[in-house]
């Protein structure tokens, strides 16, 4: 996928790239991560975390970007989430109704639950550094050159 992008290749039918597979996460873990990320930064009138493939970013960070303590904390937190859901609701997190998922995250967010914080931080990092997050959502337009720096052009700001 990466190489195809680098070469500017366009995927053609019959020449599709092999399906992406997570390196660190299991398939069920990957689905949980994808679901959590989308709940944190959902698609609205602009792309969301799923569109920005934040799960792939997180898998890559687990492989190469986090130290072993960070990786361990994340994987344990993920397991604990499903354990708790099984205990309370008899289902894994991804199988819960979205309203229940949101309520659970609200609980964790209010309690500043360490796993929720870590998941949220990774989601923000992955999303706002992606094309979708930085260019489409935030409309960042860096890498321009100007003859003269425009500065503030709003007379109302000077008052």
């Amino acid at each position: 996928m990466r190489r195809r992008e680098a070469l500017g290749l366009v995927a053609l039918p019959g020449l599709a790239a092999p399906a992406w597979k997570p390196d660190v996460l299991s398939e069920p873990q990957n689905r949980t991560v994808e679901t959590l990320a989308e709940l944190i930064l959902p698609r609205t009138d602009t792309p969301g975390a799923r569109d920005a493939q934040v799960n792939r970013y997180i898998d890559r960070m687990l492989k190469e970007g986090l130290d072993s303590a960070g990786r361990q904390a994340f994987l344990e937190g993920l397991a604990a989430l499903d354990e708790q859901c099984a205990k309370r609701f008899g289902h894994a997190f991804v199988e819960l109704a979205e309203s229940r998922q949101v309520a659970l995250l609200e609980e964790m967010s209010a309690a500043r639950h360490p796993f929720f914080q870590q998941m949220k931080n990774l989601t923000l990092r992955g999303y706002y550094t992606s094309r979708e997050g930085l260019l489409q959502e935030l409309q960042y337009q860096g890498n321009r050159a100007y003859e003269n720096y425009p500065g503030c052009t709003h007379p109302e700001h000077l008052k």
Binding site: I40, L41, L66, S130, L134, G142, R144, Y146, G151
Partner: protein, 512 residues
């Protein structure tokens, strides 16, 4: 090495050494400039124009990389090739007193990625001790250094505005870069409080008719400047010195000791080639140290020179950047600027407003604020916002253009108990050179260190004379921040260059 007779050896190629090399080669001396690090042209070797999604790990360093720069906390993916890895030059600290040392080892030194702030000191700084009774005055007054400030500003290019403030003398300025919306909002708040917010004075070319190209405002200067508009000695003083035909630049040359003759005069230096590990000795009439505050001190301590006063390495103090205050300007929420704002080479500045005319009851000296605003390539503030979901995402987008930041600049007062010494346990760097132990009680304070040779007229209490000459060794000059008697709350680089230029002029007129 070529068998050239050198008149002068300059150690270090950053602001101090670069200026000394320029001044002395212009004066007709044959100069050997020794730089411990490699040569990297910031105009070619930079990753400026990469978006985060074009970089591995989106621009984060891997844990293995972070481990290599644990002490050098300013290192990032954009500048690490000009930053020094910890293992390259170790140092020790006493238990429980960590010390962060930002170090570059490259032709140009820290000027390749410095903050560009170029501020004149005033007599409020030079005579601070007389006013508040703490420490020592400088041996010079503003009137003596003002012509050198003029000289340096003309040479390097400083953008700014004339403001007529007593605590921040005006200089020779190129046009200032217009403030962004956020700085205008802050400025209005400042006016209500009776404070001045002025455009930052930064060493960046904004005039079309200068010796270096005009800035094109493309992005973050600290990620290395691709046009050479931002001042570094690598794109300015060093090529200008080379154009005289009198300069020999030797990168990867790690100076071990200053060599002295029987009369106690410097006769040259011994250095090791970083790449081949071969040892060399080279002679000259004068040796100029501009290796950075702590490296020049280490070199003198290792050479057992210049310390008859016992003051060498004492009074370590820093110009620090401490608290960072951030907030949102409500009027700017949801209002994206029509252009890419993040290429501003230096935004707003609130000069010291304490102890200028009235005296503060609770503290002496002062502090100032560097102010900044606008969109960046990452909304870091989002990590501090509560919640999640669609409303959270909307809030991030709204606040993205509204962020304003103020960062304090302060002074750590000179104190004898803050000092550096050669590691008493005999630790050595990979080149076999003994390393420093640094004793400072301000822990995590980062950034530029100044002061510890206490430039004074009296050789019993100081290491250097008022023209940066070593009292003990008349043909040895120390021209970097090591010469400062106090740190002040102002960025030191412009003053380091002005003093280096003045010291070299004096040496040429009256060689010791």
């Amino acid at each position: 090495m070529k068998a050239v007779r050198y008149d002068a050896i300059v150690v270090g190629s950053g602001a101090a050494g670069g200026m000394a090399a320029y001044k002395l080669s212009k004066a007709g001396l044959k100069v050997l400039l020794l730089e411990a690090g490699p040569d990297k042209d910031p105009r070619r070797e930079n990753f400026h124009h990469k978006m985060p999604f074009d970089l591995a790990l989106r621009g984060a360093m891997s844990p293995q990389e972070r481990d290599r720069y644990r002490l050098n906390k300013s290192a990032n993916v954009y500048n690490k090739h000009v930053m020094m890895e910890d293992a390259e030059e170790p140092y020790s600290t006493p238990p429980g007193k960590p010390f962060t040392w930002v170090r570059s080892r490259v032709v140009g030194g820290k000027t390749l990625h410095w903050g560009r702030f170029s501020l004149r000191f005033s007599d409020l700084d030079f005579q601070a001790a007389s006013r508040d009774g703490y420490g020592v005055d400088w041996p010079i007054r503003y009137a003596e250094i003002a012509p050198y400030y003029d000289f340096v500003e003309r040479l390097i290019g400083v953008a700014g505005t004339r403001e007529g403030l007593p605590q921040l003398p005006d200089g020779v300025f190129q046009p200032a870069v217009p403030l962004r919306c956020g700085e205008h909002q802050l400025r209005q708040g400042c006016e209500k409080l009776g404070l001045h917010l002025i455009p930052a004075r930064v060493a960046v070319v904004t005039r079309p008719d200068f010796s270096r190209p005009k800035c094109h405002y493309c992005g973050y200067c600290g990620r290395l400047c691709c046009t050479g508009s931002m001042f570094s000695t690598r794109v300015s003083l060093i090529p200008m010195a080379a154009a005289t035909g009198n300069l020999t630049l030797r990168p990867n040359s790690m100076v071990r000791v200053v060599l002295a003759d029987k009369e106690g005069r410097a006769r040259g230096v011994a250095f090791v080639d970083r790449l081949t590990r071969k040892e060399y000795e080279v002679a000259a009439r004068v040796v100029v140290l501009g290796a950075s505050c702590l490296e020049s001190t280490r070199l003198l301590l290792n050479s057992r020179l210049g310390n008859s006063s016992g003051e060498l390495g004492r009074n370590l103090c820093e110009h620090i950047m401490a608290a960072k205050i951030s907030g949102f300007a409500p009027r700017l929420a949801g209002k994206m600027p029509a252009y890419a704002e993040d290429g501003h080479p230096g935004a707003g500045y609130i000069p010291q407003f304490q102890n200028v005319t009235a005296r503060e009851k609770d503290f002496i000296r002062g502090y100032s604020f560097e102010c900044s605003s606008g969109v960046s390539d990452y909304p870091g503030f989002a990590h501090g916002l509560e919640g999640f979901g669609a409303a959270f995402k909307k809030r991030v987008k709204e606040l993205y253009p509204a962020m304003v930041t103020m960062e304090t600049n302060g002074e750590v007062l000179a104190r004898r108990e803050n000092f550096v010494e050669i590691d008493p346990d005999g630790a050595r760097d990979p080149y076999g050179i003994r390393t420093l132990r640094i004793h400072e009680t301000f822990g995590e304070n980062e950034l530029r260190m100044v002061t510890h040779m206490n430039e004074k007229a009296d050789p019993r209490t100081s290491v250097l004379d008022p023209f940066n000459r070593c009292h003990d060794v008349p043909n040895l000059l120390v021209v970097d921040g090591a010469a400062f008697p106090s740190a002040t709350a102002l960025e030191p680089t412009l003053t380091i260059m002005a003093l280096a230029a003045r010291a070299c002029d004096h040496w040429v007129k009256q060689p010791g």
